[in-house]
């Protein structure tokens, strides 16, 4: 590859170039706009597959990095890097974007050029977030990504779109501005924004944070990420944003944007503030479990199909957070796996709900019923996706939840038990809603004439279904690649503790040192 040295830069800015190219097309040249966007995003997906080759299995650190100076004072560098965790999140993003272009082929009617420009710019921001290794650069992409998403919701959304868009931006911004203060504080203490350098300083004991400072900094980062995830009770923006967003917006939002929060926790919260993470873990775990159960219960009583899927996200992402804050390699792998699986399954659910909406222009479950008669193929795909989301073995949802529960059980059987009820509840609300929409008599006359999946829709769904199945049975392909980085995150946490134990000047409550005992003690409380 000629561009192998700059693969990461290409991955970030290729969609931006595509967006620029779109601006040259005439606004009413609909077909070509869609085609060009599809080609650009599909090419981006192919580029991202090169990452698989660039990141060898079992590699430590960041196998592919890019570095150049950008701003001299404060020293902000253009530092990108990819490891096994960010690798798949990038691929997930580039995979979902062309799918979104296809899914909006008939659903979006006005201001088509702007729509596709926004979609590509969103991809720029999201890929940038996953690849940044400079705290500042990370924050920059984190903020930039907001604008195209807000526009996607606010212009092409449904009735209450403006309210939802503004709520989305304000929630995220409130969190991220605190994170900025935290980032600057760290810079002030270390003189650099570079994540690996700061980690190095923490390990060498050059940077020692007092207990209180560490907790405050942890919270500054954690709250920003928790809003994005969203962790109960910060989730209230999510149902609004999802219900009002157009299908493509929902897919990207659920599929990728939520993962930015959990990714942030793995990449920043745990390695930078290990002690604070450990102290906060019991509380975070409780919030995560409350989110799992609360999200499932609220989803169960939703009359609105899209809101149901949105609340199911709250529940599923609770699992991810729980998996991360159990501090076990296996649960962390499960968390990463669940991030990917949720991206595919929930993305697919939103696609399917969007397809129903394209036909009937409503999300109310009571408006449907007996749909498997007029549209058997769509019903079959829907069932497949519902089962994967409910965590049926052999499909993608199962692997992540299983690993998370396994890891969590090692820490506390109570956590695992409570979380496991979420698995049962998810089967309840998903299957029950499926039954109400697709089985029984056709109660509405309009529903009799509904068309089954078109060729385009079949292609979209078949692609997603293949990936779902593959992730279900071929999970080692994925886990092998992020097992080492997950282990590295945990080791980093433990090393910091070791160091603090070694340094006599630092008051250290945990004299036994190892993370194992400390988490167990926390869990036992």
């Amino acid at each position: 590859m000629a561009f192998s040295g700059h693969l990461l830069t290409v991955l970030i800015f290729f969609p931006a170039a595509g967006a620029l190219a779109l601006l040259w097309l005439r606004g009413d040249d609909e077909v070509w706009i869609r085609r060009l966007t599809f080609v650009v995003s599909a090419a981006e997906f192919l580029f991202s597959l090169f990452l698989l080759r660039a990141v060898p299995i079992g590699a430590t650190g960041y196998p592919l990095e890019e570095f150049s100076h950008w701003i001299s004072s404060p020293p902000i560098n253009y530092h990108l890097g990819v490891d096994g965790i960010s690798l798949f999140l990038v691929i997930l993003t580039t995979f979902l974007t062309p799918i979104c272009v296809l899914a909006s082929w008939h659903g979006v009617h006005h201001r088509i050029k702007e729509f596709h420009v926004m979609l590509l710019l969103l991809e720029v921001g999201v890929v940038g977030v996953f690849l940044s290794l400079d705290l500042f650069l990370f924050f920059l992409f984190w903020e930039i990504m907001l604008i195209p998403m807000a526009f996607l919701i606010g212009i092409w959304g449904h009735e209450r779109r403006i309210y939802a868009a503004v709520k989305f931006v304000l929630y995220t911004m409130a969190g991220s501005i605190l994170m900025l203060v935290g980032i600057i504080w760290l810079y002030n203490a270390t003189g650099t924004f570079d994540l690996p350098t700061i980690q190095q300083m923490l390990q060498n004991g050059v940077l020692v944070l007092s207990e209180r400072t560490e907790m405050i900094l942890f919270l500054a980062f954690f709250v920003a990420f928790a809003i994005k995830v969203p962790l109960f009770p910060l989730h209230t923006w999510l149902p609004d944003a999802h219900v009002e967003a157009p299908t493509a917006g929902s897919v990207i939002l659920a599929g990728v944007l939520l993962k930015m929060g959990t990714y942030g926790m793995i990449r920043f919260c745990l390695p930078l503030f290990p002690d604070a993470s450990r102290r906060a873990a019991p509380y975070v775990a409780v919030l995560a479990i409350v989110g799992i159960i609360y999200g499932a219960l609220v989803a169960m009583v939703q009359p609105n199909l899209k809101k149901l899927v949105a609340y199911s996200s709250v529940s599923h992402l609770g699992f991810v957070v729980l998996g991360i804050f159990a501090f076990r390699n296996i649960s962390m792998q499960g968390a990463v796996y669940q991030m990917l699986a949720h991206g595919i399954s929930t993305g697919a659910l939103f696609l399917l709900v969007g397809m129903l909406y394209d036909r009937r222009h409503t999300f109310e479950i009571s408006e449907y019923g007996g749909l498997s008669t007029p549209m058997p193929r769509l019903a079959a795909f829907f069932l497949f996706v519902v089962l994967s989301s409910a965590g049926l073995p052999m499909l993608n949802g199962f692997v992540g939840e299983y690993l998370i529960l396994l890891g969590t059980y090692q820490v506390s059987w109570k956590w695992a038990a409570w979380a496991a009820t979420g698995v049962i509840l998810s089967a309840c609300y998903l299957l029950w809603s499926y039954q109400r929409v697709f089985f029984g008599e056709v109660t509405h006359q309009k529903n009799r004439e509904l068309l089954d999946a078109s060729t385009r829709e079949k292609w979209i769904l078949a692609t997603v279904a293949v990936v779902t199945l593959w992730m279900g049975i071929g999970s080692p392909f994925f886990t092998r690649r992020f097992a080492t980085p997950c282990q590295a995150v945990l080791e980093q946490m433990n090393r910091n503790v070791m160091h603090e134990v070694a340094a006599p000047s630092v008051p250290q409550p945990m004299t036994t040192g190892a993370a194992e005992t400390s988490t167990e003690r926390l869990a036992a409380r």
């Binding site: 004072s73 604008i147 526009f151 212009i155 900025l180 203060v181 600057i184 504080w185």
Partner: protein, 490 residues
């Protein structure tokens, strides 16, 4: 004799920009009876503004007029900024004056006089000279605010500005008198030697702070701002929010970089001022239905952010290592805000149409489809005011944050963060209206023609600079971080 002449020449070189600005203003007034057509006058005014900025290159760092005027990187920076602002304002006024059927010559002359006054403020090293600069810019501003004689709002604006402004000037003057009473001199350098704990000196400086606080619209002295900004012709509002504000902040910085000790007192003064100003501006802006008023309140809020950096300056005053980034933060912020604000007000001026009728949020509905360029540019400016990355405003805010956190002003930084989020709401509201609301047809076709060529030029320049400062702030940073920024403070 020759040495005297040489000294005179050296002194004159120090005020050459002001002389050029005043000179071109006088030429404009003289030419008015002979020149038909506004365009020629605009051209001369632009030439004058640009020439005044260019001649700063002849300046030699040092002080002149027996220490009254100081020429250093600091004043150089502000001369460039003020010259650029007045250049852009003059350019954007061209179409405005035509639309409103107003005379050009006096208008341009007043802008240039005001610019000269601000230039004096930026380079003065003595309080009475500062007073002259302040009056020069203020009196021109009063007239400019009421330039639309047939509009009641404009007259109200001028009257309010004049009455309250005179009041503030009196405070300033009293302050000078007290300072003179204590130190026996009005030179800033003498402040450094004065007993900083003396109550009389403290009172004098407080009065000076009140007078200047009025000029920069710091709460609780900000009440006049929305009315004056709303009533004044919009290009003049652009000038108010950018020029005098920057120049007065420059003077404040000079004064309070000289006051040696008693920083505790001044630190808290600035702390309180900053918090009050941020909240007054942002909370006020939240409920506005008029875009011009909203931007006026936002301008108060941004004065508050600048004052946060002042609190940092007074806090770290004793440590020259730490103070440099705080100075740089103020300068960078003022530059970024000034240009963004000129750009935003220029768009508002053009959308307003004849008689400035279309200023409400409803009039901006659907602007994204009616006038894509104007809407995109205004969005960029709003995002910069909001402080989003890759715009100038982001780095401005970042440097202030950094300065505040370096000085361990965590609470002030957090309050500033809270305010940024409040600010995000009303800036986004306008963007939402422009792009997400349907156009209801309240604006007649004549007002939706798009920007006039001159205004489009101003907006383009402002937008480019906004992006330039947001992407490559290194160049400007190297200027504002210069070790010889303030010759006297070292």
């Amino acid at each position: 004799m020759t040495s005297l002449n040489q000294e005179m020449l050296h002194n004159l070189l120090l005020v050459l920009p002001e002389m050029v600005w005043c000179g071109s203003a006088v030429v404009l007034m003289l030419l008015q009876p002979f020149v038909k057509g506004r365009q020629a006058l605009t051209f001369i005014a632009l030439l004058g503004a640009a020439a005044g900025t260019m001649v700063t290159f002849f300046g030699i760092p040092g002080s002149g007029f027996a220490g009254l005027i100081q020429f250093d990187t600091f004043s150089l920076f502000f001369h460039w900024l003020l010259g650029l602002v007045s250049f852009l304002v003059i350019l954007s006024s061209d179409s405005y004056l035509e639309r409103e059927n107003l005379d050009g010559a006096e208008f341009y002359a007043l802008i240039l006089f005001a610019t000269a006054g601000m230039g004096v403020l930026a380079s003065t090293q003595e309080l009475l000279t500062a007073f002259i600069g302040l009056e020069m810019s203020s009196i021109s501003s009063y007239i400019l605010a009421g330039y639309r004689r047939d509009s009641i709002k404009s007259s109200e604006s001028a009257m309010k500005y004049f009455l309250l402004g005179s009041f503030a000037t009196a405070f300033f003057l009293y302050g000078i008198a007290l300072v003179y009473g204590v130190t026996g001199s009005t030179n800033l350098a003498s402040l450094a030697d004065a007993d900083p704990a003396g109550n009389l000196l403290r009172l004098g400086l407080t009065l000076i702070l009140v007078g200047l606080g009025f000029k920069v619209a710091a709460a609780p002295f900000q009440i006049w701002t929305p009315d004056v900004y709303e009533g004044a012709p919009t290009p003049v509002t652009a000038l108010f929010s950018a020029g005098p504000k920057a120049a007065t902040f420059a003077l404040l910085l000079r004064i309070f970089s000289t006051v040696h000790a008693a920083t505790e007192y001044w630190f808290w003064a600035f702390w309180v001022l900053a918090v009050l100003t941020m909240f007054a501006g942002n909370l006020g802006a939240l409920v506005q239905g008029n875009v011009k008023r909203m931007l006026a309140y936002s301008s108060i809020a941004h004065a508050g952010y600048t004052l946060v950096a002042f609190a940092a300056v007074t806090f770290v005053r004793s440590d020259p290592e730490a103070v440099a980034p705080a100075y740089a933060a103020v300068l960078f912020y003022l530059a970024s805000y000034a240009l963004v604000s000129v750009g935003a007000f220029t768009v508002v001026s053009e959308i307003g149409g004849r008689g400035e009728r279309y200023l409400t949020f409803e009039d901006y509905a659907g602007l994204g489809t009616r006038q894509p360029f104007a809407a995109a540019a205004l969005s960029l400016f709003l995002l910069s005011l909001l402080g989003l990355p890759i715009t100038a405003g982001f780095f401005g805010k970042l440097y202030i944050f950094t300065a505040a956190i370096k000085s361990k002003l965590i609470w002030l930084a957090i309050l500033m963060a809270v305010n940024s989020v409040i600010g995000a709401y009303y800036y986004l509201r306008l963007i939402v209206v422009m792009y997400m609301r349907e156009y209801k047809g309240t604006v007649p076709a004549e007002a939706s023609r798009g920007l006039s060529p001159t205004a489009a030029m101003v907006v383009t320049v402002a937008a480019l600079i906004t992006l330039y400062l947001g992407l490559l702030p290194n160049h400007v940073l190297s200027i504002v971080l210069s070790p010889h920024l303030l010759l006297s403070a070292r």
